[in-house]
Amino acid sequence: MADDKDVLRDVWFGRIPACFTLNQDEVTEREAEPYYLLLPRVSYLTLVTDKVKKHFLKVMKTEDVEEMWCESEGTPLKWHYPIGVLFDLHASNTVLPWNITVHFKNFPDRDLLHCPSNSVIEAHFMSGIKEADALKHKSQVVNDMQKKDHKQLWMGLQNDKFDQFWAMNRKLMEYPTEDGGFRYIPFRIYLTMSDRPFVQRLFRPVSPEGNVHTLGNLLKEMYPAAIPNEGEPKQNQVVIHGIEPLLETPLQWLSEHLSHPDNFLHICVVPVPTD
């Protein structure tokens, strides 16, 4: 379990170095210096980029400022995805630090959601947790919680307090021993080449015959293309939290340990870099 606890900590404290640069088109009084920052993988962009915004506002006239949005190599970054997912999806195979361009104009309403305040992030986060618990425990656990317990989960994430968050999150990760796992595993599979944003279906951690389902089982069921055929070179990477777990890893364990704070297991399937 000591290893498992370490895994949880490593997941929580995972950081991505990022270099924020102001978009060339923005009107500035003088040249804006780039801003470097270590982004927590499990958090959300708009929650951690206050400093970035402040830095760039110094060189800008207030009348030119609109809602800030970020873009990586031409792709607008959806703030409602965890940062780690954004990175793994869009920049996992680029040179570090991750270059992010900051915009204050021309908000892409088609691609991004507006984020006027942190309460919007909180609502999004909590809805994720509730959906996940609906899958895991028919919402029993989360409904038994009090308002302050919900607040504790959110504050733990907002202030990067691992212990505070997990003191409560532990309850969401429990399951009856005789069932051998959750009712369904909450997961989302992100595909770079797909039109759909992600794949999400019902999937049990244990087969009707009593066999334990693995990551491989899941992918075979949901997206067989992610698994390389025998004898062929690998075409896709299955990335969770910036790592590629073995396909025989049990799905229940992954859900317990490698889920994001919103209790979903975010799996990114990205093509193997050509070079």
């Binding site: 000591a2 490593d10 950081r15 334990v212 491989g216 790592i243 025989e248």
Partner: protein, 610 residues
């Protein structure tokens, strides 16, 4: 939401992987190492790798960069302000310098002033310190004093507490004493009341007694008057009496001795018979009478005390209910003119015997129980009685209140006799002792323990003879107080009598037999007297010898008086019909003239030969 279309189509590859997971305990993914845990170790390793590549190498760099950024922006701010100051002239600077110098001087002056002020303040402070010290010392002194005072206060409080306790104790005692005082007062009142009551009772009793006495005196007077009316006839009969059985006179010249010493004379003249002696005395008396110029009344009285020969009674002169209850004992005085009867009604009655009738003279009270025995002293001035109340009482004849009460016996006193030594009496009791009492000292001088209940006793000069229930008659030497002789009897001894010459002893026993022993010879020769019909009625039935020693008299249970002739040993006469119950005692007057018998039904009968 994706539709639920989970099919159970697993590839062979994933199945094998699943099996390997199951074998290493998937349900609780523990930290135990194993070949199956490769996936876990892989993940840990990959995470470490990721962190090393992505964050660790950039961490410090980014940190320093942001600090540098902050600093550069700050310097930018400063640099942007500098050109404004540069534009001012040197003169203004010099001005400023001068001004500054001036202000420096002012400030220096101020510093000096302040320093002085500080010195002053310090001095003040020192003073205050010293005064504070003094105050503190005073305070400590005061504190000591206070503590001392507190100690004293505590002490005083303790003393007060003690005093309070003592006071409480005293209060309690006082209360107790008061209650006792109250009780005592109440008791005193009670006693006072009792005393008053007793005094009232005593006064009432005295009154009633006086009344009774005066009534008795009146009755006596009346009887005397009556007897005086009959006296003429009596004189004739009594004057003829002494001559009827007189023997020839002898020893006429033996006339020196005074009357009280007669008995002595008789005893010393032991050889002569009592009958002769009495006849001598009679003659002597007659001679004196002849020479004197006495009145008729005196003549009448004198012959009663002297007996030459006893006359066998023949008829009852008087029958009277003498007491209120049964009569136990009867006795003539030595001068024959007084008769005493004692009864169960606790009193002794004295009767004057005159002219063939009994006149009540006095009642002697004092005993709290019935009288068992009475005795006159030889002078006839005192009377002794034995009582059921365990005491013997002594009266003077002229006083109805007892002069002495002799207490000491533990059961009823059955016999009480004057000893020939005038100041001594002897008592016998049911407590199996015989006691000798000194009348001068009113105290018991000797106690003689006997083996048996003493029913009667008689006294002589040197010995005491007692009769007992164990069929023994014991003779005691009064000087050595030892049993000299034991004489057997046929039954329980009920009474003893000594003849006037102290030679013959009569005993009455429950075997209905009278026995006469000659004490002179100390022999066992004895003569028994029986009669048909004679029955000893009780354990205290008393029989007597006639004063001339010729007859025996005893009362029977059938109410008849039996008289035996001593010389012939046969029954002389029997006097029936006057008593209706068992006769308890008889007494023969020393003059030989009368016999009185008393019975259990209050009746007394005076017998004579006329």
């Amino acid at each position: 939401m994706a539709a639920e279309d989970v099919a159970s189509s697993h590839s062979m590859r994933t199945d094998s992987a699943g099996e390997s997971k199951r074998s290493c305990g998937f349900v609780q993914p523990g930290g135990h190492g194993g070949s199956g845990d490769t996936w876990r170790r892989h993940i840990v390793r990959q995470l470490k790798n990721r962190d090393r590549n992505q964050s660790d190498s950039f961490q410090d760099l980014i940190h320093f960069y942001s600090r540098l950024l902050d600093k550069s922006s700050w310097t930018n701010g400063i640099l942007s302000r500098r050109p404004l100051t540069d534009s001012s002239s040197v003169s203004s600077l010099l001005n400023q310098n001068d001004q500054l110098k001036k202000t420096t001087g002012e400030l220096a002056f101020q510093v000096l002033e302040l320093q002085q002020q500080i010195k002053i303040k310090l001095l003040v402070l020192d003073e205050q310190d010293s005064s504070l010290l003094a105050e503190r010392r005073r305070f400590s002194g005061a504190f000591d004093v206070r503590q001392e005072l507190q100690g004293r206060a505590v002490q005083v409080q303790e003393e007060n507490g003690k005093l309070k306790m003592e006071y409480d104790v005293l209060l309690e005692r006082q209360r107790g004493a008061e209650t006792r005082l109250r009780e005592e007062k109440v008791r005193e009142e009670h006693m006072l009341e009792d005393m008053i009551h007793l005094k009232q009772q005593a006064a009432a009793r005295m009154n009633s007694r006086n009344e009774r006495r005066s009534r008795a005196r009146e009755a006596n007077l009346q009887k005397e008057l009556q007897s005086a009316a009959r006296s003429k006839v009596a004189i004739d009969s009594s004057s003829s009496a002494p001559t009827s059985r007189s023997t020839s006179p002898k020893n006429e010249h033996q006339d020196k001795s005074a009357e009280p010493r007669h008995t002595r004379l008789f005893r010393s003249a032991s050889a002569t018979s009592p009958r002769i002696l009495t006849s001598i005395r009679e003659l002597f008396n007659r001679k004196r009478r002849g020479h004197s110029v006495c009145s008729q009344e005196e003549d009448q009285m004198s012959p009663v005390g002297i007996c030459l020969s006893a006359r066998v009674p023949a008829r009852a002169l008087q029958v009277l209910e003498a007491h209120e209850q049964g009569i136990n004992t009867v006795r003539f005085s030595s001068s024959s003119d007084l008769l005493a009867t004692g009864g169960t009604d606790r009193v002794i009655k004295l009767w004057e015997v005159r002219a063939g009738s009994l006149t009540h003279r006095a009642t002697l009270e004092g005993s709290t129980e019935g009288i068992t025995c009475v005795d006159f002293d030889s002078a006839g001035s005192r009377i002794l009685a034995a009582s059921y109340d365990k005491s013997a009482l002594l009266w003077r004849l002229d006083d109805s209140v007892p002069k002495l009460t002799l207490t000491g016996h533990s059961r009823k006193v059955t016999a009480a006799r004057f000893s020939p030594l005038l100041h001594q009496v002897v008592t016998g009791s049911a407590d199996r002792t015989i006691r000798l009492w000194d009348l001068h000292r009113a105290a018991c001088v000797q106690v003689v323990d006997v083996a048996s209940y003493c029913s009667d006793l008689v006294c002589s000069e040197n010995f005491i003879i007692s009769g007992h229930y164990d069929r023994k008659i014991r003779v005691w030497d009064t000087r050595a107080v030892s049993c000299v002789q034991e004489l057997p009897a046929q039954g329980r001894v009920t009474s003893l009598d000594l003849s006037s010459d102290h030679r013959q002893l009569l005993s009455c026993c429950r075997d209905d037999c009278l026995q006469l022993v000659d004490l002179r010879r100390w022999s066992h020769e004895r003569s028994s007297f029986r009669a048909e019909g004679f029955k000893c009625g009780s354990d205290s039935t008393k029989a007597v010898i006639s004063p001339d020693g010729c007859f025996l008299a005893a009362g029977s249970a059938d109410g008849s008086v039996y008289i035996w002739n001593l010389s012939s040993g046969s029954l002389e006469t029997r006097l029936p019909d006057k008593h209706s119950s068992s006769i308890s005692a008889v007494s023969w007057s020393p003059s030989g003239e009368y016999v009185v018998s008393v019975d259990k039904s209050r009746r007394a009968v005076l017998w004579s030969d006329i």
